[in-house]
């Protein structure tokens, strides 16, 4: 180590300031990295299906989609209302058997039991996480938030397909939806866009 020989205190001070500045830049960079983890993580989750995240992009339905009739996969449906509200939200069928490549429509029923209007947002999740990236939806009530008048009842369809590439060891897939109350956030967003339109 020869660098220390010339690191006397007098000479050290000017390069000390330079070094300190470099470290401050590192600090700012790492603060930015904290924010960069958000898009990185989302991209990674959608790409790998990590954490059961599914893409919220609708897929185009191709008429000539080949169906793999040799396999049947059981798809189960689970619904939750966040925060213990007593809205009604349930699938009409607890599970369906589907062939990979086959488009299937299932229905969900929801009712706003409150005596005030609300806006709900459903967030989907898929288990096991290995299956997440093989479940595609062409239609889903989770693509947009769902306004409900007081006491309003809705039947909401989901149309989905399991990719033919879905790993052979997966014989059961669970699709879960959690309903969140986003009434306040939706009102704020509406107020923001209103003056422009």
């Amino acid at each position: 180590m020869s660098d220390a020989a010339d690191s006397g205190t007098s000479r050290g001070l000017s390069s000390a300031k330079r070094n300190a500045l470099v470290l401050v830049v590192v600090v700012v960079g790492m603060f930015g990295f904290g924010y960069a983890t958000v898009p990185l993580y989302n991209a990674l989750c959608v790409f790998t299906g990590l954490n059961g995240k599914v893409s919220n992009q609708a897929v185009k339905e191709t008429a000539a989609a080949a169906v793999d009739t040799s396999r049947e996969v059981k798809v189960q449906f689970v619904t939750t209302v966040n925060g213990g509200r007593d809205w009604e939200f349930r699938p009409l069928q607890s599970s369906v058997e589907v062939h990979p490549g086959e488009f299937v429509t299932v229905m969900f029923h929801a009712r706003n039991t409150q005596d005030s209007d609300l806006v709900a947002q459903a967030v989907p999740n898929v288990a096991p996480i290995e299956a997440a990236k093989y479940l595609h939806k062409s239609e889903c009530f989770c693509f947009n938030n769902q306004p409900f008048k007081a006491g309003e009842e809705k039947m909401m369809p989901v149309r989905f397909v399991l990719d033919r590439e879905i790993p052979p060891e997966v014989d059961t897939v669970t699709l879960s939806y959690t309903f969140f109350d986003v009434t306040e956030a939706a009102a704020k967003a509406a107020a923001k866009t209103a003056p422009k339109s």
Binding site: M1, S2, D3, A4, A5, S7, G8, T9, G12, L13, S15, A16, N19, A20, L23, V24, V26, V27, V28, G29, M30, F31, G32, F33, G34, Y35, T37, V38, Y41, N42, C45, T48, L50, N51, G52, K53, N56, N82, Q121, V123, A127, I129, E130, T178, F180, D181, V182, A185, K188
Partner: protein, 542 residues
């Protein structure tokens, strides 16, 4: 030799400490700031200790006896934040303030004003944090890890929590930049990097960990703040965010953070054991490389804190094996300490007692860490008292014992007086016994299924909890022996210390008089072979 340089200090008499309280508020002197940091840290240890007594008193018996569950939860949360950010980290910064310039032979830290600012942020940070206890909605009660969505449901104390974390972060980043730059640029001629005392090495690496991870925590808590007040959805699931992402980001900071809390301890123990074994440290270079490896590995193991959130098998395996890999450099260190003691002419003054207890008890904490590293069994241990026992073993008989050892070791140099050896040893034995009485039964409680962060428990856990509570009160009371012993040194009562203080002590800090003058090494000392080679063994050629 350094001794001759002290003639210069007479010229600087007018640069001595300013009189009155302004000395402490305006000081840029590394020794003053080191003292302030240490006094602050021990004040926080006291406050955090009181909180732990509330926890242990409540857990003495099943059922609710003294406090409401919400208050109990804010006690566990604040105990952690106060002990980590207010106790251990400022204590290590205080030791670095005092010792790094004296060990590398420079007059002060590179950025003295920043040093002052960094310290004085801390009292404000903790006033913000502790003020939440007096708000109608109470203090933060969702755990020190601040996981959303729970933390977002906190009352009006929430922004106080976030800004307190910001201030603590800025404070530790300024401290880290200061130490890193000082070590890189201000070493005395001849003090090459691989001749530095290990305390400086471990602190240099700690400083880089702080610089790399504290801003990530600052970013994460800022995202919490905007999620709550500005309608962003970084972690809000209804808006497309993911609460699990917070856990990833938090532990990307959090795991290096646990090494921030232990690497300086490694440095202190590596300094004390050779002194009292009267041998050179075994494997100096391997100690440096082991520390650097631990620091590197700490960045790729974070998800072992969250095995149960649902991860692909490949992820579980990667984080399991990379975590177990840390046992290798850590084992190198433990074996080096043992080899240093091997056939040494050991004597057991108080600092050595604490250092030896550190090696033994920290290793127990390391072993329970290896058990937790195993993903399949972690599903049983997760969020139980086994985890509590594990991290308290590495933090209390680990980090805190090393701080106590360091203070006993260097206080004769700081104050010019020896502490009372009898009371020092009494303090050690009471601490060592009671800390095991407190935390060892918690291993069994955890394995039997007792959850952490719950004020009540099933009746079959009562016996071990009673033992644990008795230990906690005993440990707390024993610390007053230490406080009085140190106050006696600081008030200049006690046997005057020699310059060398310890028979086997080596390094530049022992070449200045005791007590150390207000300014030391204003003219850089020439680092002779006799001081540094004793760290390495004379055979080492550079």
């Amino acid at each position: 030799m350094a001794h001759t340089d002290h003639a210069h200090h007479d010229d600087h008499a007018h640069h001595g400490p300013a009189p009155g309280i302004m000395r402490w508020i305006k000081t840029t002197n590394h020794k003053d700031l080191g003292t302030l940091y240490l006094v602050f840290a021990f004040t926080m240890f006291f406050i955090g200790g009181l909180m732990s007594l509330v926890i242990r008193a409540e857990l003495f018996h099943p059922g609710l006896q003294f406090v409401r569950p919400e208050f109990f939860n804010s006690m566990t949360t604040l105990h952690a934040l106060v002990m980590i950010f207010g106790g251990v980290m400022p204590a290590f910064t205080g030791l670095a303030n005092w010792m790094v310039p004296m060990q590398i032979g420079c007059s002060d830290l590179a950025l003295p004003r920043v040093n002052n600012w960094g310290f004085w942020l801390l009292p404000f940070a903790f006033c913000l944090l502790l003020s939440t206890l007096f708000m109608p909605s109470g203090g933060p009660a969702g755990g020190w890890t601040m996981y959303p969505p729970l933390v977002l449901q906190m009352g009006e104390g929430f922004p106080f929590l976030i800004f307190a974390i910001h201030l603590m972060g800025i404070s530790s980043i300024t401290g880290a930049i200061n130490v890193a730059v000082t070590i890189l640029n201000m070493r005395a001629p001849g003090m090459t990097l691989l001749k530095m005392p290990l305390f400086c090495w471990t602190w240099l690496i700690t400083a880089y960990l702080l610089i790399a991870t504290m801003p990530v925590l600052a970013g994460a808590v800022t995202m919490l703040l905007t999620d709550r007040y500005f309608g962003t959805s970084f972690f809000t699931a209804s808006g497309g965010g993911d609460p699990v992402l917070f856990q990833h980001v938090f532990w990307f900071f959090g795991h290096p953070e646990v090494y921030i809390l232990i690497l300086p301890a490694f440095g202190i123990v590596s300094t004390i054991i050779p002194t009292f074994a009267r041998k050179t440290l075994f494997g100096y270079d391997s100690m440096v490389y082991a520390t650097a490896s631990i620091a590197f590995l700490s960045f790729i193991v974070w998800a072992h804190h969250m095995f149960t959130v649902g991860m692909p098998l490949a992820g579980e395996l990667f984080f399991m094996f990379s975590t177990m890999l840390i046992a290798v450099p850590t084992g190198v260190k433990v074996f080096n300490w043992v080899a240093t003691m091997w056939r040494g002419s050991m004597s057991f003054e108080t600092p050595m007692l604490f250092a030896v207890a550190f090696v033994f008890l920290f290793t127990i904490g390391g072993f329970s860490g290896l058990m937790l590293a195993m993903a399949p069994v972690d599903f049983q241990y997760h969020d139980t008292y086994f985890v509590v026992a594990h991290f308290h073993y590495v933090l209390v008989p680990g980090a805190v014992f090393s701080i106590l050892a360091g203070v006993y070791y260097w206080i004769p140099k700081w104050t010019g007086r020896m502490y009372n050896e009898f009371w020092g040893k009494t303090h050690f034995w009471l601490s060592a016994i009671f800390i095991n009485v407190t935390f060892f039964p918690q291993h069994f409680l955890g394995l039997a299924g007792m959850q952490r962060r719950v004020p009540d428990y099933a009746v079959q856990f009562t016996d071990f909890n009673e033992i644990s509570t008795i230990g906690a009160f005993g440990f707390f009371l024993a610390q007053f022996i230490f406080i009085f012993n140190m106050i006696k040194c600081m008030s200049k009562k006690g046997v005057p210390a020699t310059d060398r203080v310890w028979e086997g002590a080596h390094g530049l800090e022992w070449t200045v008089p005791s007590p150390a003058p207000y300014h030391t090494f204003e003219v850089p000392p020439y680092v002779g072979d006799d001081e540094t080679q004793s760290l390495h063994g004379a055979a080492k050629a550079h």
